[in-house]
Amino acid sequence: MKRRGGMVLASAVTVAAALASTAGASSTAAAQTQGISCGSTLKVAMVAPFTGGAGFLGNQQLSWAKYAVKTLAPKLGLKVSLVTGDTPVEQGPAIAQTLAQKFVSDKSVVAVIGPSTSGAVAASSQTYFAAGMSHISESATRTDLTKGATREGTPAFFRVVPGDYIQGPTDARFMISKGAKNVVLFDFQEPYSQGLSDAAAAVLKAKGVTVTRLSVSNTTTDYSSFVTKVPSDADFVFFPTQKPGDAQNFAQQLIEQGKKAKVFGGDGSNDPTQFKVPGSYVSNFAPDISGITTDKAIIAGWKNANPGQSLGSFGPPTYLAVQVALQAIKYACVAGHGQLKNRAAVWANVKKVKIPVSILGGPFRFSTKSNDPLNATFYIFQIQSDGSYKLVS
């Protein structure tokens, strides 16, 4: 019974050995001592959720990343190819670690765009840091990635968008400016929404606004009973979901049960095709770039490459992140006289990058005190009766 396994075991051993040897052969290894020539094709890895519930986000970001690499790299005299790693949100942050290991082992990967989700950053930042790999995120906004006594992001982590410590209070101040006296704050038992609600709650309470916190499981889609709990005199319901469809559903159920509160979504609810109940608000770290004159050429080029797709709001920060990464690589190449010693050389140059006119409007540079952008702001939009988003702050 057990012995019959012997033959199969033997074949399994040979298969395993074969796999190991072929896998070993496929891992590229540039000579360690000499570094990489800047004339060869360098790889930049992108870690984002391309499938799963947040897949729309990752794919938006990918289309802009590809566009940025295609248009910006030749201008800097670099040959860059983009490799991807998928972190579906349903699998939790742990998968980001295996991907980190994969990219860290590949010597020709010199920088990472992302991870897009804050949880993935927390899980993999240590690995990137130990490898000297700078990772520039275009959408990981959790506050304690760069701030606080026990920050989860390492010095190799950068982001080109402001953290939730700006978004939460910005949203709260806006609500106060609209005369809010009673606000309900939701969180979905995951890091993004909890951080946002915590930050917003602090500001609201300090201004004497009545605050109710409600916590919902991430897998719920029936909000009827939660809607019932919203007081009828509440002015706003802060609903930082990462699924715009949920925000839409919730807003409708609020109306159904006759509550007058307006829904205020975070940057995760930002999708005019799904969330379009008039009167609601969303906040986002990027303005609508179609209103920025200096971006006309970029937008035209992107639309050419991606016919029939809407601009989206997660894309442009990705463009900026790629731009920062490519610029840092260029600086490192120049400093190394056409040779890139190792990826730590790229890391050392990231913070030096200054972009006079960035795609998000205005100049871009990193703050001296942290790896966050200097003077970044959040923008607040209101949904109009025709479903379009209008900037109101």
Partner: protein
């Protein structure tokens, strides 16, 4: 409930099964299945393969184990990529988990759908005992055995309902236990105001393994995976494998076997049925908890979402594929499925794998024969014809290509139709057509089947290239689902398992 009436038809079924799946020379009517199996009396496979098998069967199990572990330890020698070594570590963990599940399902005959919760409990227990969370920093040689004991106790407690519940209901209770675990860990950052489990953020900055006073750093220079962790897990694997082997050969093992064969008779004969069930639950849970500690230590973090239902299905597929009840089997199952899942992550490799599987599958089903040549040739020609026709109707229909994948992709691009801008409805329509046709194929026989096989395979290649490669996530789970269904229908004993496993 199906025990005794099966008895009447089983010898016949067993004989038929033996003749078709073992390749015995002639059907034996009326041979007792139990005697045949236990006496290892089976007709020898014909030809050189049979002789080889006979020769290999003489080698004792511990020799195979040594050979296997040596080969596994040599993986880091063959590849200095941290990624490959990390994957080897992941597979070693899968092997441990599969061994543990084998105890519950294969030996105890209990359908435990909450198994992953024990894995999670081990991981979280380690996190609470060796991190800054509560400031407790026990050395690993203390915390790991402690976690194993905790796992065994929790397994025992969860197994208590098994005394009163039959198989289906036990499955549901254990499934709900898993849900409970997930709910508690996800919300555990606010239990009466105390942050116990870190909630959805998980617990970070866990201590690395600390053996004999030495800290094993998680990464060795430059963030690369520290190979020492692989060796630690392999060592644990050897210990668990050998320990379980001895348990199986002991009285407990024999009691489990008779319990599986006929629970009512076992009870009537005075065996402590409940105790045996609880033991298998406990053992399985302890092994799962052990695996949890290693993963926690390596990742230096633990998150609730890592212990989800898809992981459970993955481990079940490993156990069923390898053969529930056979230790060597589930280890092989773990290796196969683990490697498969990792390969599927990369589109270039997936493509190669797909075509390799098709060719190997045809080889296995049709053997080296005229039929194989006809099918392969027909497939090749069919593909070329369709490609040419589609290309001449509209060049855009064959213009797109996967992008990555190198030479194989370029070659295949000439054969498979890959539209450059596929319409939205292509994906669902082609997929559903493929599923329906594949099901119809199972109903056909003879040469009709071969004829229909060719377009179905071509359609499968089309769907793979255009639909599934773009979405590796659902694809991997679809493959697991299909594997489970086909295994249960075609070969429930898996590769090396016992012929039947009854649940209590």
């Amino acid at each position: 409930m199906g025990g005794y009436d099966d008895e009447l038809t089983r010898p016949l079924e067993g004989a038929l099964e033996a003749s078709t799946s073992e390749g015995a020379t002639s059907p034996a009517v009326g041979r007792d299945e139990w005697v045949a199996r236990h006496g290892d009396n089976r007709a020898r496979r014909g030809g050189p393969l049979g002789t080889l098998e006979e020769r290999l069967r003489v080698v004792p199990w511990w020799a195979w184990l040594t050979l296997f572990v040596t080969a596994a330890s040599l993986v880091p020698v063959f590849s200095d990529s941290g990624y490959v070594r990390r994957v080897a570590f992941d597979i070693a963990i899968y092997m441990l988990l599969a061994l543990g599940l084998n105890v519950v399902v294969g030996w105890g005959g209990l359908l435990d759908l909450g198994y992953v919760a024990f894995y999670g409990i081990g991981a979280y227990a380690y996190a609470l005992l060796s991190s800054d969370h509560y400031g407790v920093h026990l050395p690993s040689l203390v915390s790991i055995p402690l976690v194993v004991v905790i796992g065994a106790i929790v397994g025992f407690l969860v197994g208590l309902p098994s005394r009163r519940l039959t198989g289906d209901y036990l499955a549901i209770v254990t499934l709900f236990f898993l849900q409970l675990f997930l709910t508690v860990t996800t919300n555990g950052d606010d239990i009466f105001g105390h942050n116990v489990t870190g909630g959805a953020d998980g617990i970070l900055r866990l201590d690395p393994l600390n053996l004999f006073g030495h800290n094993l750093p998680v990464s060795s220079g430059g963030g690369i995976f520290n190979v020492a962790y692989l060796y630690v897990v392999l060592a644990a694997f050897v210990v668990v494998f050998v320990a379980l082997r001895f348990v199986n050969l002991s009285r407990t093992g024999r009691a489990w076997r008779s319990l599986r064969e006929d629970p009512l008779a076992a009870e009537v004969m005075g065996m402590p049925v409940n105790w045996l069930k609880l033991m298998s639950f406990s053992f399985g849970a302890a092994i799962a908890a052990l695996s949890g500690t290693f993963v926690s230590a390596l990742n230096a973090s633990v998150f609730p979402l890592s212990f989800s239902f898809p992981l459970l299905i993955t481990i079940y597929t490993m156990v069923i594929l390898g053969g529930a009840g056979s230790q060597a089997g589930v280890v092989i199952g773990a290796i196969l499925i683990g490697t498969l899942l990792e390969v599927l992550r990369d589109p270039g490799n997936s493509r190669v794998l797909f075509y390799a599987v098709i060719v190997l599958g045809l080889l296995a089903a049709l053997r080296l024969s005229l039929r194989l040549a006809v099918v392969l040739g027909g497939l090749f020609v069919f593909g070329l014809v369709v490609h040419v026709v589609a290309g001449s109707i509209d060049h855009g229909w064959v213009n797109g290509s996967g992008g990555s994948g190198g030479q194989v992709a370029d070659f295949m691009a000439r054969w498979v139709v890959v539209p450059s801008a596929p319409a939205g409805w292509i994906s669902p329509v082609s997929y559903i057509t493929l599923v329906v046709m594949a099901l119809i194929l199972t109903l056909l026989r003879g040469w009709v089947r071969l004829v229909v096989l060719v377009p179905v395979l071509y359609l499968a290649a089309f769907v793979w290239e255009n639909v599934m490669l773009a979405h590796p996530e659902p694809t991997r789970y679809i493959i697991l689902g299909v594997l489970l269904i086909s295994l249960m229908i075609l070969r429930p004993s898996g590769l090396l398992g016992e012929k039947r496993v009854e649940i209590i």
